[in-house]
Structures are given as structure tokens and as C-alpha cells.
Symmetry: C2
Subunit: 350 residues, 2 copies
């Protein structure tokens, strides 16, 4: 249980750790442009504002629409309304914030050009790497978000029956995550029968039939944090080809998960899963990465895929989700979310 004063402390600690990073990079400040990064430091979730984090002071630049809302729900920031860039220029001048960084991967091209014109420097990945190591508050929230994902899927599983539509199932689960949590982590995927062969199927009016696989890729939102969980369920008696594929994916996941611990190359976790699937003759049917970091965003640093240079560290939260997709026939994906612990991992989707 985290109280409001703990939360204040933790947000202050995040800004403190970020300022250390800024000093290391010889920056006087960093300009934040995208909501997940902004939320990480401010705790304020609303589109359309910016922030400058200096070595001593920090500012939020808000449209009138959000000004009062931010002023009463954030702390530790100077809240300013009105035109953003004149305000930024004044602060730079008055507070001698000279070398300011920004993230080239989370700003629009035309806004990025304006920042360059102001003399700001693109410094990629700074917040992403900080965010990849979850602090105690985040671990608490990720445990809750993932536990809720599991409860939702247990609730949904009881509703599977021939004749019910993907849409109807999705509607019920959307209600569940909004009622018992704070919403959904992403557009829920319910893909039954041949639709399961599309990894990112869009929910349709397809009605479940006996013998259908049902892939459910779901996640709940809990106080700004997202969970991620996939199961492919059988509906009644399945063809042997389904169980053959299912067992391969299941083994791929199991073997990959065994690799999870600090110091391990993210690419090697992918390699293990890919090897199992390739050996079984389905290499070309595994059409995505094995996993990804997750937190405020559903896809975060690190990437558990071929060619990734990322390294697992204690405090990271990652998915492991191999899949096999046979176009026009069916697909199977099994995904869980894990906290990397000092010695290995903890399953969060439980």
C-alpha cells in the first residue's frame, strides 16, 4: 500500500535520479514532449502539455484547458500557462539553463525542428532506460495490473461457448478492466478460429465454434501502469495439429523464461524461443519478437528480439510471448509478464 506522501517522495526520487543522469551527460536540463515520459515524473496523465526538468527547478507548460487540473494534482513543478516557447525562452535566460536535451524518438518532426532551433540537443533513450528499471511503487503497480489481467481472463474463460461472438467477449472484458481497474492496457485482442492466425487481429463479429482456438491478448491499466497477458484457449475437442503447435509454443516459452536473469542478453532469450520453434519446423511462422519491456507504455525498452543489444537488469519488467501463426488456419501465442529479480525472475501474470 503506497500513500500519497510516499508517492511524492518517489516522484522526487525519480527526478533526483534523472538529474544525476543529466549531470553525467553534461546537460543543464531536459525537455519532455510525450505523455508517458511526462507522467513518469509528474504523475499527471493528460495529453497536451510539456515539461522542462532543470538541475534545480522544474516546470510544466500547460494549455489553459489543463492548468487548474495540473496545478492542484502535481507538486514540485512550477506550473505555467500561455504560449510554450516564449515561456521556455524566459526560463532559459533567467535560470541559465543552457544545454537542454530532448528525446528524438518521442517528439514530432516539426516540433523537434523547433527544439533544434532553440539550441536543444537530441539525446535519445535517457528516460527510456531510467523507466526500464522499475522502482518499488512501480513494481507494486505492475503486480496489481498483472494480477487484474489474470482475474479478467479467468472471468472471461467462463463465458466461452459456441455461438458467442469475439465482440461480446471483448465488451465484457472491457467492462471488467474498467470497473475493477483503471481501464485497458491496449485494444484487447480476442481472436477465435482462423482469426487467431493474425497476431494482431481486430475484434470482429465472428462467433465461436467447437474446436476453435481462442487467442486472448489482454491487459489492464492500473494507476497508469499496463499489464500484458496472452493465452490461446481450446474450445472443446481440438485437432491434434492444434495441440502439436500449442506444445511447441509452450516449450518455447518455458525454455526462454528459464534464461531470464540480470546480465543476460535480451537477444539470447529470443534465440532460445526461436530455436525451439525453428527446430519443430515452424521458424517462418514465428513472425514477431519474443518479448518487450512494459510499464507506463505497453511496449518499452528493452526489446527481446533478434539483433537486440539490450541487457536484462534487476527491476526490469518484460514479456515472453512466442507464437506460431499458420495463415488461414490458426495461431497460438502464450505470453506472461516477468519481473527480473536479483537472481532470476518473478511471474507477474498470476
Amino acid at each position: 500500500m503506497v500513500t500519497i506522501s510516499d508517492q511524492k517522495l518517489i516522484l522526487a526520487q525519480r527526478i533526483g535520479a534523472f538529474r544525476d543522469l543529466l549531470r553525467e551527460k553534461e546537460l543543464d536540463g531536459y525537455f519532455l514532449t510525450d505523455l508517458p515520459n511526462l507522467y513518469y515524473f509528474s504523475g499527471f496523465w493528460n495529453e497536451g502539455y510539456f515539461s522542462l526538468i532543470g538541475l534545480r527547478d522544474s516546470w510544466l507548460f500547460l494549455p489553459s484547458l489543463l492548468y487548474n487540473h495540473a496545478r492542484v494534482t502535481t507538486f514540485g513543478f512550477n506550473c505555467l500557462k500561455g504560449k510554450v516557447f516564449p515561456n521556455v525562452k524566459k526560463i532559459i535566460k533567467r535560470h541559465k539553463v543552457e544545454k537542454i536535451g530532448f528525446d528524438p524518438a518521442s517528439v514530432q518532426y516539426d516540433l523537434g525542428l523547433e527544439l533544434k532551433n532553440l539550441g536543444f540537443v537530441p539525446v535519445p533513450g535517457l528516460v527510456a532506460r531510467l523507466r526500464s528499471i522499475k522502482d518499488p511503487l512501480e513494481i507494486d503497480l505492475m503486480r496489481k495490473a498483472n494480477h487484474l489481467a489474470v482475474l479478467g481472463l479467468e472471468y472471461l474463460e467462463k463465458r466461452f461457448k459456441p455461438g458467442i461472438s469475439e465482440r461480446s467477449l471483448s465488451a465484457d472484458l472491457n467492462r471488467f478492466y474498467h470497473k475493477y481497474g483503471h481501464g485497458i492496457a491496449f485494444s484487447l485482442i480476442i481472436a477465435a478460429g482462423p482469426n487467431s492466425s493474425f497476431p494482431h487481429h481486430i475484434t470482429s463479429d465472428y462467433k465461436l465454434k467447437k474446436g476453435d482456438p481462442i487467442t486472448c491478448d489482454v491487459g489492464a491499466l492500473w494507476q497508469g501502469y499496463r499489464s500484458d497477458l496472452t493465452r490461446t484457449f481450446p474450445l472443446g475437442k481440438m485437432a491434434p495439429s492444434f495441440w502439436r503447435v500449442f506444445n511447441i509454443v509452450s516449450k518455447a516459452q518455458k525454455d526462454a523464461v528459464e534464461r531470464l536473469k540480470p546480465g543476460v542478453l535480451a537477444a539470447s532469450v529470443d534465440q532460445v524461443a526461436r530455436k525451439v520453434i525453428k527446430k519443430a519446423g515452424f521458424g517462418k511462422a514465428f513472425v514477431h519478437n519474443t518479448g518487450h519491456g512494459v510499464g507506463i507504455d505497453i511496449h518499452e525498452y528493452p526489446r527481446l528480439g533478434p539483433g537486440s543489444k539490450d541487457v536484462l537488469k534487476a527491476g526490469m519488467v518484460v514479456t515472453v510471448e512466442p507464437g506460431i501463426y499458420l495463415p488461414g488456419r490458426f495461431g497460438v501465442r502464450i505470453e506472461d509478464t516477468f519481473l527480473i529479480t536479483p537472481t532470476g525472475y518473478e511471474v507477474l501474470t498470476k
Copy 2:
């Protein structure tokens, strides 16, 4: 009722109209980077792909994850998988597509730099302006999406009672829009009591009390198109101050709506609403634009706000949504969505 073959025809017409625009701007092609623009031409809704529309041929650049899905559900495009830029370079060479535009407002800074390095030219607003004039299929979908928004709110209104939480109401309405439509248009806003003083309140566990205003800013998704509707409802007997504010906002909306017709400056619609509210002494409490275009995106061209240079045209779909927000006390917003017709407007939120 639009059949699949109509849809093929309409998508082909959109690409035809866009090619006319490209020729006008002396471009040989346009590189699409963001999902709403991509969806407008391809009908394929899935994050993570790109498109090049040339004067004769068009291409989709897909990750393996989406390749089969796009190949069987799109038409008129050459579907390519593998690394995007090597593929793009080959096409440029082989098909003599020389001068290629891209939208600087809908691409990330680092990707935009890559496009610039390839010799692509930033040409802003090209697709946005095309998308602002809805074609017959889009008008049909916008009517359905908005009608569904209304039905949802009628359903929700019956559930208002002291003791029920914002979250519970939001959960039920989320289910409604996912079951009878194709999802929600944006994170639904249910803001009761003092929370209604935050225009973009985040749904909370606040429980309704007698005398509370309840602002519901809601919208459904229908086949990729979004609706937008806001009502502030009274719960039981309200203080006279509520009705005073309510009537001012209501008059501001009514007067502004009367301005809607082709040829009118979008800023003048805002001016009319703002004048009513200012005259009543609440000028500083109206903290946002009067309205915006809506379609595939919830906020589109044009902008009905101060200083906007946009002009209303037949076929545009816009919101009119004045509001008054009294910090710590309460707020009122009234929003409907309108199709601009040759002679005036049609209310879509009915």
C-alpha cells in the same frame, strides 16, 4: 448500407483524389507514416507499417507481424515485408518516383530526419485537408458512430443515482460501445460534482451525490470513425448557480451552431460562443476551443478556436462544445457533432 465493392471503389477514389493533389504540388509520391492517414487509404487498422503512394502504383511496407493480415485484407497496394528503407530505395529507383512528400506533423523527429536524408520533402496538411471533407461512406459511418454515442448516453443516464461511482458508470458505457459498436472513440470522461470543473478529468472512484452535475464526454468507434458528444446532467435538484451557468453554455452553443455553414470562418464560430460566455462574466472560465473536426481521429482539421484561419466547407464534420469551469466548484460543457451541409448543418449526435 455500404458493400465491400463500394468500399473498394471509395478507397480507390480517395487515392485518385490524393494523386490529383500530388500532381498539383508537383510531387511524384507521398510517404505515409501515421495510422489514421494510412487507414484512410488502406482501410487497414494496425500500428507499425508505412506506405508510399505513387502517381501510378502504391506500396505498403509491413513487418512480418502484419504481412499476412494486410495482404488478405487490403487491395490496390503492393505489400512488401522486410526492412522498410532498402525496399523504399529500390522502388524509388525502379519506378522513377523522384519527388516524395511526407507530413512533418505526423512523423517522429528521428524518422523525419531519415526521410529528409532520402531526399523526401515535408509537405504539411495534405492528407488532413483531404480527410476534412468526408465522402459518402464516411458520412454514413459518422452518422452511425454519433447515433451510437447518443444511444450509449441514453442507456447511461438511466443508471445515474446517488452512490454509484464514476468508474462503475464508465465501465458500463465502455461495455456498451464495445458490444454495440467497435469500441470507444477516446478515454470516456465521466466527471461528477467538483470533478466536472476539470475539463479533462480522469475517471475516479468518486460517488454521485444529489445536486451533483455529471459531465459525460463520450464517443463510440464505428468502423474506424469516432463520435464526440458531451452533456452535463443534473442529479436531482440543483443550486440556482448551476442552472445559471448551464443556460449560458447552452445559449453559447445554440448561437455558435447557428453560424455553421460553408464559407464561414471557423474562428467566427468560436467568437460567437466566446462572446456569449464573456458577456455573462465567465470569459476566463471558458478554457478551450469551441470545437474541432472529427473523423478517423478525434481531433482533426479544422480548428474552431481563436485565431484559426480555417474555413468551413460542405462535408466537414465538426464539434461545437463551449464550456464553463469554476475551479473547485463545478463545470458545464455541452457538445454536439455536426455535418456541414451545402446550406447549413445536420446534427449527427441525435
